[in-house]
């Protein structure tokens, strides 16, 4: 196992390499200067130091990373070849369990084991692990010394150390940038992989178009037919996020942006614009709690008072309302930017013809700013349907296909949370359904974002 001691040792070696290379470079520099040529040395001594230090540490570090991933497998295989392993059962699953327990005891993580069969394996495990550790450490140190020595011999006055070091820096920057791609790939692949496994258990058509959602029934062995129809979830997501929330956010967001850009004095704008941004900064769990604690009961009482049946204390309206308020800054800030990028000459042209400010806004500015506003709305919808905490806390778990805003509906995100809570058998259709839902959510939000950005980009180019 790679202990912190080894890492410290490596770092120490790197430091020594740095210091000694630098000293040598400084000596060479002094000699070159003494010979009369001022620019004899290509790179500053510090760069030589870094060059040798990097050659000392990096190869060993890369080796250790690979070793840490590969060694446990090799150790396990060696243990299995031991005579003590012949008593192990044949099936893969219990064998792996016994091995991991033996490993845990050998490395000291576990004081005693549950399985009797693991006991005889502990000693071979400890012994072989020790051997491999020694081998790994030796190899790492050898690499460090070899790398350092090789680099040290190259320290000369005309050696372009700085160029090399800078190239390594650039490579590091590029590697860091690749992490973005790796993450995206990671998301896509993990979602696809798990969804694939899900769709081998449940027909995709049933999933995408079925109207009965009761995964609990499937878990209890009633079969997967008619248990994973996600349409009620899609409906709930759209109902709360795209309909109710937008009905709140679009008028309030757009009119706020119009007021702040066209009517408000600079002082009012200075205070109100940050206030709208604060709305976006409040954590969604706070919104969710507020919705569940205050808004939902009030709405339910209201509904009962005006005689609507089926009013629940976890209503789509409560969640949608609060979500709409949270989304206001997304709509208003995009609208603000769009309206401001309409050239002032257009506004002047309309006013000079005797139009009132509101006529100018309604007939000239908004139509001109429309692509930007639409883009903002699409981004807001994308944000709303991906929102989790507000709906988990304020909407419900009932997969209803209803248009009654006072009733309880559930959403894709709520169900993802619900399915992955509690005991997870990671192979059951129930937990894999969460990934399938995640895939749908990812694809839809991605499409919305792409369309929105394209709309906004085309609009910006029109006004450049």
């Amino acid at each position: 196992m790679i202990g912190p001691a080894l890492l410290l040792l490596l770092a120490g070696l790197g430091a020594i390499a740095w210091v000694s290379a630098r000293m040598r470079a400084m000596r060479l520099q002094a000699a070159a200067r003494a010979s009369g040529r001022r620019d004899a040395m290509h790179s500053l001594p510090g760069y030589h130091g870094w060059y040798v230090a990097l050659w000392t540490v990096l190869p060993a570090a890369i080796f250790l990373t690979v070793w840490a991933n590969v060694a446990p497998g090799m150790i396990s295989r060696s243990v299995l070849e031991e005579p003590a392993a012949r008593t192990l059962p044949a099936d893969e699953f219990s064998r792996a369990a016994i091995l991991s327990e033996a490993r845990a005891i050998a490395t000291g993580k576990l004081a005693a084991g549950f399985q009797p069969l693991s006991q005889p394996l502990v000693e071979p495990y400890a012994r072989i692990t020790g051997q491999y550790d020694m081998a790994g450490m030796t190899l790492a140190l050898l690499l460090a010394f070899a790398g350092g020595a090789y680099a040290f011999t190259r320290v000369r006055t005309d050696f372009r150390a700085r160029t090399r070091v800078e190239r390594i820096v650039m490579a590091a920057l590029l590697l860091a940038s690749l992490l973005a791609i790796v993450t995206t790939l990671g998301i896509v692949l993990s979602l696809l992989w798990e969804s694939f496994r899900f769709f081998s258990m449940v027909n995709p058509i049933d999933f995408l178009f079925g109207t009965k959602w009761s995964p609990q029934a499937a878990a209890q062995g009633y079969g997967t037919k008619d248990a994973f129809g996600a349409v009620p979830l899609f409906w709930g997501t759209i109902f709360i996020g795209a309909i109710i929330a937008m009905a709140v956010a679009i008028p309030l967001g757009l009119m706020s942006a119009i007021y702040l850009t066209q009517y408000a004095s600079a002082r009012v704008r200075k205070w109100m614009k940050p206030m709208l941004e604060v709305l976006a900064g409040v954590p969604t769990v706070v919104y969710g709690y507020f919705a569940a604690l205050t808004i939902a009961p009030a709405l339910r009482d209201f509904a009962v008072a005006i005689g609507i049946s089926g009013a629940s204390s976890e209503s789509a309206l409560a969640a949608g309302l609060v979500m709409g308020v949270m989304i206001i800054p997304f709509v208003s800030s995009m609208a603000d930017d769009s309206i401001n990028s309409v050239p002032q000459s257009m506004r002047d042209g309309s006013l000079a013809m005797g139009a009132t400010t509101s006529e100018t806004i309604r007939r000239v500015l908004i139509p001109a700013a429309l692509p930007g506003v639409v883009g903002g709305v699409l981004l807001a919808v994308s944000r709303a349907i991906g929102e989790t905490m507000i709906v988990v806390m304020a909407a419900g778990l009932a997969a209803n296909l209803t248009a009654n805003p006072f009733a309880s509906v559930t959403t894709v995100t709520t169900q993802i949370v619900q399915l992955l809570t509690g005991d997870q058998e990671f192979d059951s259709a129930k937990t894999l359904a969460a990934f399938a839902l995640g895939l749908v959510l990812f694809v839809v939000t991605l499409l919305l974002n792409i369309v929105a950005l394209r709309v906004v980009k085309a609009y910006r180019e029109a006004y450049e």
Binding site: A176, S177, T284, F290, F435, L453
Partner: protein, 419 residues
């Protein structure tokens, strides 16, 4: 094509006619309504925010206080084995302080008096003794925390029996309100009078540290690469597209990613700050990249030209000239990104942070929870006493976010140079 096509002058519009005047009046009225609608929109938004904050404040401030009952405890009589010299943690356990407290309560407050106190009241006695060991030699009057029912009844109202007890205690002068110090020093628990946010807070802190350590270098490095060194090729395009998409992916998807890769593939410890930090780092990194790119873009090319002109290499130009100037903007963006990560709940639920954690985490691999998840867990609790605790936790969270955003704004105003 000249004015000859319509030589006689067209009748000028009669602006004074009734029709015109009415129409103009209508247009002005519509203008007023429109302006009012805009103002109303702004006020409604502000009003909602105020409503939210005030209601949280109202419910939560009470969470910082607790009702206390004055109880006389005769330590020499009820805990005879203790002397000032032998007082230590272990001997206090052996002394059965809970029993001492129950007996004292029953005696001082009447039968059933023990139920009026919080189950954790004995901890107050224990801490008092540890502070002042001489206490074991005398009869001491202590203010002990009351039970949830009494606490609620004293603050807002409760069952008739509870309210009657409150009245009785108040008349006897035994009721008082004190600062709820346990709220800031303990972790999750079963009884509302014993819970605190320290465990969740420490978990948040550890998670934030991991997030920052991972997302900041990678984010800044990516921003530098994209802005300064990347050539216009397909690889750069893919990186940019990835960043923009990642910035817009719902946070719960990152939770699914964390679950399938960090937990199931790499077998990292569940519900640990390490995994939470890794997941949030992936989520925060695009935010830092975008803020970093904007900050670097804002540095005028003349700075770079000047540096290149005296012979600096491209790496030196960036690290020694551009980056220092872009740093305030990068830091502002980072703080804002971290504030967002601090408030995130959904991805951490996915990686298992929704378990009941009764002790603060020791390191980044211990099971932990974070403040927003703690709030979520408490919001589900049935006991009414949790309402004020949840709101109080929300206040703590909001205060921290306010401080972070305030710091970001301060940095932005102080260091942002207008070129």
């Amino acid at each position: 094509m000249s004015a000859a096509t319509d030589a006689p002058r067209r009748n000028p519009t009669d602006w004074r006619s009734d029709v015109m005047q009415r129409r103009i009046a209508r247009r002005y009225a519509s203008e007023r309504m429109f302006k009012l609608a805009g103002l109303a929109a702004v006020l409604v938004s502000a009003g909602f925010l105020a409503f939210l904050l005030i209601s949280m404040l109202g419910a939560g401030l009470r969470g910082f206080t607790r009702t206390e009952i004055t109880v006389k405890i005769d330590l020499p009589a009820t805990a005879p084995g203790l002397t000032p010299a032998t007082v230590n943690a272990r001997s206090l356990i052996a002394a059965n302080l809970p029993g001492v407290v129950n007996d004292a309560a029953d005696e001082a407050l009447g039968p059933g008096g023990a139920a009026l106190l919080s189950p954790g009241a004995w901890l107050t006695l224990r801490d008092a003794i540890l502070d002042d060991p001489q206490m074991v030699t005398r009869v001491e009057t202590l203010r002990l925390p009351a039970s949830t029912e009494i606490d609620l009844a004293a603050k807002t109202g409760g069952s008739p029996e509870a309210e009657a007890s409150v009245e009785r205690l108040r008349k006897a002068g035994l009721l008082s309100t004190g600062f709820n110090s346990t709220f800031l020093t303990t972790s999750d628990g079963t009884d509302p009078t014993q819970v605190g946010i320290w465990g969740a807070f420490k978990g948040s802190l550890l998670t934030m540290v991991v997030t920052l350590l991972l997302s900041f270098p990678v984010g800044v490095a990516t921003a530098i690469y994209l802005e300064e060194y990347a050539r216009k090729n397909w690889l750069t395009d893919i990186i940019e597209v990835s960043i923009n998409n990642l910035a817009a992916v719902p946070s719960i998807i990152f939770g699914l990613l964390g679950l399938s890769i960090f937990l199931n593939l790499l077998h990292l410890p569940r519900s640990a700050a390490l995994v939470g930090g890794l997941t949030l780092a992936l989520m925060t990194m695009p935010v830092i990249v975008i803020a970093g790119r904007n900050a670097i873009k804002a540095v005028p090319p003349s700075i770079r030209d000047a540096a290149l002109g005296i012979g600096a290499s491209p790496v030196q130009v960036v690290f020694q000239h551009v980056l220092p100037l872009a740093l305030p903007g990068i830091l502002t963006g980072t703080i804002i990104g971290m504030a967002r990560a601090l408030g995130e709940t959904a991805p951490l639920l996915m990686i298992g942070m929704r378990a009941f954690i009764a002790t603060p985490p020791g390191g980044i691999t211990d099971p932990a929870t974070v403040l927003p998840v703690q709030i979520f867990l408490w919001s589900d609790e049935v006991s009414r006493g949790f309402v004020e605790k949840t709101s109080a936790a929300i206040i703590v969270l909001l205060v921290f976010l306010l401080a972070m955003n305030g710091l970001a704004i301060y940095l932005r105003n102080k260091f942002e140079k207008r070129w």
